[in-house]
Assembly symmetry: C2
Homo-oligomer: 318 residues x 2
C-alpha cells in the first residue's frame, strides 16, 4: 500500500550525522545521531551506511522495506548525480559523494542541499503544506533558504538557488565568511553576530552584553545578547533592530520578487533570541511590496530541526 | 501541421495598442499599432477586436486559421480568468477584462502580464531560447522582470512575481510611483530619472545636462543625460554610475537568490544611454554571488520591442 512506504533521511552537518526512518506521511519513526570524527568522504559514506543500519534496527525494519534514501548536506550539489561541488561545512570540493553513498548502500540515494530538503519537508508535511509557492528561510549560524515554486523544489541552474544569506544588504560592507562583503549573513547570521558582539565588547561597547556573559568576552554571543535585550538594555535592543532591518531588507525584497503565498521562518536564532521574530516580521512587511505582503502569510517552521531529515526522506520517495 | 499554427499577440500599453500575427516559430508575419483614445475597458476590448481584424486582413488570414489569441498588459492579472486586479498604466482596478475580450472576439483569449509575456517570448524564440532558468529584465520608463524557472513561466501566488522595479535599494529613500520609498525604479526607471534630473537642474546642478537639453528644463531627461555623458561630463558620468550601482544591487541579488543560467537585459534605456549596459553588467557581477555569477550569461534582448507581442501569442498557443 502506497501510504505505508518508508524512507531513510540523512542530515549531514558540520559535526553531526543524523538519520531518521520516516513514513510517507512525514512521521519520524526512529532516529539516531552521531558525531563525525572523520570528514573524509569515504569515511562519511561508511558512517551513513552504519547509522542507517542502526536506525533500521531501532525501527525493526529491514532494507527491503525501504523505498528510498535521501541525504541532505550544506553545499552545492549538481542534480541527480549527487556530485558535491562545494560543501563548506565539511571542507569538500568536487567530491563524487553521491556515487560513494550509492556504493556503500548498494542502492539508489538522493543527494540534496540541506535547505532545499528542509523546504521540501515544510512543503509536504510542515508549515507550507498545500502551498505551491513558498519561501523557507532558516536563520542559524548561517542563513539560507529553500524555494518551493509552482509546487516544485526550485534549485536553480547549478543547485545554488536560495542562497539568501549572501544577498548583499550593505554594498562594500562587512566581510562575510564567503569572502564577499555586505552579505546579510555577515550582519545577522549567528556566527557573525557572535563575532561582531565580541568585537564591540573589545572596543569597550556593549557593557550589558558582556555582563550578561559573566564578564567573559569568549562567552559573548547570541545568548548574552538575548539576556541583555530581555533586561531592556538599549544597546542590545538597537543591535536587534539593526539585525531585523538587514534581515527584513533581504527577505522582504525576495517576497517582492517571488510573490510567494507563504514564508516559513525557522532556525535556532529565533528560539535563542525571544524578541527577534516579531521585529523581523515587521521589517519584512515594511520592505515587501504592499500587494505581495497582502497575500503573504508568515509561519514558524512546522518541523524545526527535523525539517531537513524529513524533507530528504520524502524527496527520495519522489 | 503543428509547425504552421498561427496566433495573434496583443500588447496593451498606456497609450498604444499593438497587435501582431505570429507563427509558432515566433515570426511576426503582420502587425499594426494604434493610439488608444479611450481607456474604458469595453472600448479597449472593441479596439482589440478591430485591430485583430485589421492584422488578419494585412496578413491575408481568417479567424479560422488562428489557433490562439494572447494579450499582454502591465498589471496584476489573476490566472486563467484574465481578471485585472490592477492595471496602473490604464488606470484600471478590478476589471474582468478577460471576459470582455473573450466576448468581443467570440473565442478564448489568454491574458498575461506584459513582462511575463516578454520573458516567455525570449525563452521560446529569443535570447533565452533553450534555457530553463532565466531572468528577463526590462528597463524602460519603469523597471520590471519576468521569470522563467524550470522551463516554465513563474508568475507567483497572485501574479506579481518579477516586480524587480519595486525591490528596495535605499531603505526609506526616494518616493516611488508605487507610493513606497527606496525602490530601484525610483532611482533608475526612465520616468524617475527624468524627474530626478529636472530636480537637480532646478537646484542649479547638472549644468552640462541642461545645456545638452538646449537650456530647457522641460527637455532634460535621459537623452540629455546621454549626450552629457558622451561628452565626458563628470556629473552625468557619476549619475550613470549611481544608476548602475542601484540596478546592480537589485539584479545581482536576484541572481544570488535564483541562480539562473541566463539574464536578458532589454528595454529602451539601454538604447538611449550608450554607456549604461557595460556599467550595469559590471555591477551585477560585483553584487551576485561568485558561484552564481560563474554560471550566468548575460544577453541583450533578442526580440526587443516585439518580445511582449510574440510572447503573448506563443503563450496562447500553449
Amino acid at each position: 500500500m502506497e501510504g505505508d512506504r518508508l524512507a531513510l533521511g540523512c542530515d549531514l552537518g558540520a559535526t553531526n550525522l543524523r538519520v531518521a526512518l520516516v513514513t510517507e506521511a512525514g512521521e519520524v519513526v526512529a532516529s539516531a545521531r552521531e558525531v563525525l570524527d572523520d570528514r573524509e568522504p569515504e569515511a562519511v559514506a561508511t558512517d551513513i551506511r552504519t547509522l542507517c543500519d542502526s536506525v533500521l534496527a531501532v525501527g525493526r525494519k529491514s532494507w527491503d522495506e525501504i523505498a528510498g534514501v535521501g541525504v541532505g548536506l550544506a553545499g552545492q550539489i549538481l542534480g541527480d548525480s549527487g556530485f558535491v561541488v562545494v560543501g563548506p561545512n565539511l571542507g569538500w570540493r568536487d567530491v563524487g559523494f553521491g556515487a560513494l553513498v550509492r556504493a556503500r548502500l548498494g542502492r539508489e540515494a538522493t543527494l540534496v542541499n540541506d535547505l532545499s530538503a528542509a523546504a521540501w519537508g515544510e512543503h509536504r508535511v510542515g508549515a507550507a503544506q498545500g502551498v505551491d509557492d513558498a519561501l523557507v528561510v532558516f536563520l542559524g549560524s548561517g542563513i539560507g533558504a529553500g524555494l518551493i515554486l509552482g509546487g516544485k523544489l526550485y534549485e536553480g541552474a547549478s543547485g545554488l538557488a536560495g542562497e539568501l544569506g549572501h544577498v548583499k544588504v550593505v554594498p562594500g560592507g562587512r566581510l562575510c565568511g564567503c569572502g564577499e562583503r555586505g552579505c546579510v549573513e555577515a550582519y545577522a547570521g549567528g556566527h557573525n553576530v557572535t563575532e561582531r558582539l565580541q568585537e564591540l565588547v573589545r572596543e569597550g561597547k556593549a557593557a550589558a552584553i558582556l555582563e550578561a556573559a559573566g564578564g567573559d568576552v569568549a562567552r559573548v554571543g547570541t545568548h548574552a545578547l538575548n539576556l541583555a535585550a530581555e533586561a531592556g538594555d538599549a544597546f542590545a535592543l538597537d543591535f536587534l533592530e539593526e539585525m531585523a532591518a538587514h534581515l527584513g531588507l533581504a527577505i522582504g525584497n525576495a517576497i517582492t520578487l517571488l510573490n510567494p503565498r507563504k514564508l516559513v521562518l525557522g532556525g535556532g536564532m529565533f528560539h535563542g533570541i525571544s524578541r527577534l521574530r516579531p521585529l523581523v516580521e515587521r521589517e519584512i512587511r515594511k520592505v515587501a511590496g504592499r500587494a505581495q505582503a497582502g497575500v503573504l502569510s508568515i509561519s514558524e517552521s512546522g518541523l524545526g530541526d527535523d525539517a531537513g531529515l524529513v524533507g530528504a526522506a520524502l524527496l527520495a520517495l519522489g
